[in-house]
């Protein structure tokens, strides 16, 4: 066997494997999306219609029949606000940890790493009772936004700090000598240079805030409920509802699709941050 044929065989094996694996990865997603595009009577048909005329009837019912729009708006608001604030505050803190030495810095770094590991469910009881006392739960989404900001800060600080530390210090140095304030140096020199880092942080914060379930379940009411909770409260195995459930689920998964295809590189960077030296 020549080197050429051996190479060709190994390449074909590779492709066969990768296509098989992709099929396994994609099939559950395909199931969800296709069920959402089928008429309720066809959703359970076995053998299934692999080729069918898609219908938007489930989406229409979900959109107009339920409080979907309200929950959708809540999800968008909560995700956008908490992402902006968490990434912003995170960048500030990251700058602090990247550029200065101060008492307690090591403790702070260790603390941030530890807080990154906190399971959301642990916060459910204390945060619910605390917010209940202060009245945050009645006042709307504030509480939920605060929790999402906090939950994402550790990751954002960590990721942005690595990005800042890779910047040459000379630029900031000359600006300081020119008399710029620290805040000015940060906003006009550092921030624009860590764009990719901000993208990573934003995607991951948005992902948590958009997807999070358990705290939203506990902290929201029917006005402030977000989409994951709404769909879960609706989850039954009754045949006719599956179309609607998969339709909402598809809407929830939409940002994931978009981010994945628009910014896979940033996501991989974020996933590997802290585990693999880039």
């Amino acid at each position: 066997m020549t080197f050429q044929t051996r190479r060709r065989i190994s390449m074909s094996v590779k492709y066969v494997m990768i296509i098989l694996w992709s099929a396994l990865v994609l099939f559950p997603i395909y199931e969800m999306v296709s069920t959402s595009l089928k008429l309720p009577v066809d959703a359970f048909k076995l053998p299934p219609d692999w080729i069918f005329w898609p219908t938007l009837v489930n989406y229409r019912e979900v959109l107009f029949e339920s409080n979907f729009l309200r929950f959708f708006t809540n999800s968008v608001l909560v995700a956008v606000i908490s992402t902006t604030v968490s990434v912003g505050f995170g960048a500030f803190a990251a700058y602090s940890l990247a550029r200065w030495n101060f008492g307690g810095k090591k403790t702070a770094i260790a603390g941030i790493l530890l807080l990154r590991m906190i399971p959301e469910v642990i916060l459910a009881v204390p945060v619910f009772t605390m917010f209940n006392r202060i009245g945050f739960i009645d006042s709307g989404r504030t509480g939920l936004i605060l929790v999402y900001i906090a939950l994402n800060l550790p990751f954002n600080i960590w990721v942005l700090r690595t990005f800042i530390m890779e910047l040459p210090y000379e630029l900031e140095e000359s600006a300081i000598i020119d008399g710029c304030t620290d805040v000015r140096v940060f906003t006009s020199i550092v921030l624009p240079l860590i764009g990719p880092g901000l993208a990573v942080a934003s995607i991951f914060t948005f992902r948590i805030a958009w997807n999070e379930f358990i705290l939203s379940l506990v902290l929201t009411n029917r006005f402030t409920r977000t989409l994951p909770v709404a769909v879960s409260l609706f989850l039954t195995d009754t045949g006719t509802e599956w179309g609607k459930i998969t339709a909402i689920a598809t809407v929830i998964a939409l940002p994931a699709f978009i981010f994945t295809f628009a910014a896979a590189k940033s996501i991989i960077m974020g996933l590997t941050a802290g585990a693999v030296k880039g």
Binding site: A98, L114, V125, D182, D237, A249, A275
Partner: protein
């Protein structure tokens, strides 16, 4: 880090740190402290306006005497060790087989990111649908080779395995991507030297690649382990912890104790144990990260 501070630059470290620190303190640290405190109290959702009653270590004694809690620890350990071991093995093997640039690789790598990004609620719903005893596609496909139908989520002997499969589906790509990134760090000249020396594939694998990615594998394992302790939503939406308590990992046990049985003190005691467990593994990760710090 470069130690350079501009001479005379005033130290604004605390100013920059303040907003993040205050939120972390208020929303994460105070509640965690309250959890520690509450674990020594009896408190019910029905009487939130009344102060909690101090009961000493009673909650912990009750937990360790409770068959359901012991079972949930056993389920957690089985779940976590299984998913981490299988994902690590699968992810590494796939990364080794698929490393290197070839046509379409970028597209595939993008596809593998998808499961990680999709909401756990949605993952739970998808798999619940796939596992449906009568209409699920898994039983349908197995029917072609004469197997089944199985009650994937209803049979207590199968349910935990079904839940593990869903987790493997979602997180094997994560291990794959991490190992792939680690493999890209193998110095080219070392590999070239090895090829020239006529070492075969398994020798390079054993003596060059594996040692080189062992650190990445270790960290990945710890990260996945901690994440598996934290996972709840996928299982919650697939089985709710059932049948019986066969998929009731500790986080679900905690949630049910708090909001179904409405025993907030007891739930806090579960939280404390879960926190301790995570802290042990997190300290490994943190020590490693701080070591990088010193370099």
């Amino acid at each position: 880090m470069r130690k350079s501070s501009v001479p005379g630059r005033k130290n604004s470290a605390y100013l920059f740190l303040a907003p993040a620190a205050s939120i972390l303190l208020l929303v994460l640290m105070v509640p965690i402290f309250n959890t520690l405190r509450l674990s020594f109290f009896e408190w019910t959702m029905r009487a939130l306006t009344e102060p909690p009653t101090f009961v000493g270590f009673r909650n912990f004694r009750e937990l360790f005497g409770s068959a359901n809690f012991q079972e949930s620890i056993r389920v957690t350990i089985t779940f976590s060790l299984s998913v981490v071991a299988i994902e690590l093995l699968l992810g590494t093997v796939l990364a080794l087989l698929l490393e290197g640039e070839f046509k379409g690789m970028r597209l595939f790598r993008t596809l593998f990111v998808l499961p990680i990004m999709i909401a756990p609620v949605v993952v739970g719903i998808m798999w619940r649908f796939m596992y449906h005893p009568s209409y699920g596609k898994i039983n349908y496909f197995l029917g072609f080779i004469g197997l089944g139908p199985y009650g994937w989520l209803s049979n207590p002997d199968l349910a935990l395995r079904s839940v593990i499969i869903a987790d493997i589906w979602q997180w094997t790509p994560f291990v794959f991507l991490l190992v792939l990134a680690g493999l890209q760090g193998v110095p080219k000249d070392v590999m070239e030297a090895a090829t020239v020396d006529g070492t075969n594939y398994f020798q390079t694998l054993l003596y060059i690649k594996l040692p080189f990615i062992s650190a990445v594998l270790g960290i990945t394992a710890v990260l996945r382990l901690i994440d598996s302790f934290r996972s709840l939503v996928v299982i919650y939406n697939m089985t709710g912890g059932g049948p019986g308590v066969s998929t009731e990992i500790m986080s679900i046990h905690l949630f049910k104790t708090a909001f179904t049985s409405q025993r907030l003190g007891l739930a806090s005691a579960v939280a404390v144990i879960l926190l301790l467990l995570i802290a042990v593994f997190a300290s490994v990760f943190i020590r490693n990260s701080l070591k990088e710090e010193r370099r």
